[in-house]
Amino acid sequence: MDILFDQGLNFITIALNLSIIVILVLYIIFSIIIVRQVQLMSKVIITGVNKYVYFFSLVHLAFALIMSLVIILTTI
């Protein structure tokens, strides 16, 4: 009974770890796409404040990378 319970718990742990990795990878891809799109759209409409939006998208990408690294190192 205990072995079955441990196996079930192991399976849940592996499934959760895998889903965390998938979500983090998707989040990083999303962050990269946002940076690229902000870069492209800043050439379509040029305003003085585009640089702040671009800077923010870069900060967001850095945040996504750092947070993903921290989550993977601490939980998986």
Partner: protein, 180 residues
Amino acid sequence: MNIFTAFTEKPKGVYFASQEPGEEIIFVLRKAFVTNIPWIFISFLGILLPILYMNYILNHPSQNLIGFSMFENVLIIMWYILVIVYTLERFITWYFNVYVVTKQRVVDIDFKPLFNKRVSETTYDKVEDSSFAMNNIFQTFFNYGNVYLQTAAEKREFEFNSVPKPARIQDIISDLAADA
């Protein structure tokens, strides 16, 4: 023009990709800022929910729904990732959906993050009719609404959705169309 500006008349230091030399911009428009309130509210709710949940669990430990305490923090972080993605997607969509009115033409820049962007334009000689509409009490109260341009071009109708001061915009566009 700051980052949250939705209505700019004769802006300084604003250009668009297909702008001709000497082409003067009259308006740069986005949806009225007040149209962002629903997603701002949802984002705040998204930020608050885990805090409320944690507060509830601290006061009622037996009601812990998640159970796996080792994943609780990760789940909360995942939740916040979702909130960040949602908020960023909504903001970028609002920020880069721009209507530009110049002395020669009208340019509609449509942008959907991750999916597509579309730039359409029409000159005033193709504009057959222009009108504006404020469709509900919020639009009347906050002075925003839709401006419609009927054109003879392939794209039959230009629609400026939820732009501030629609009466002023329609007035200027109809004057420019009459002069064309």
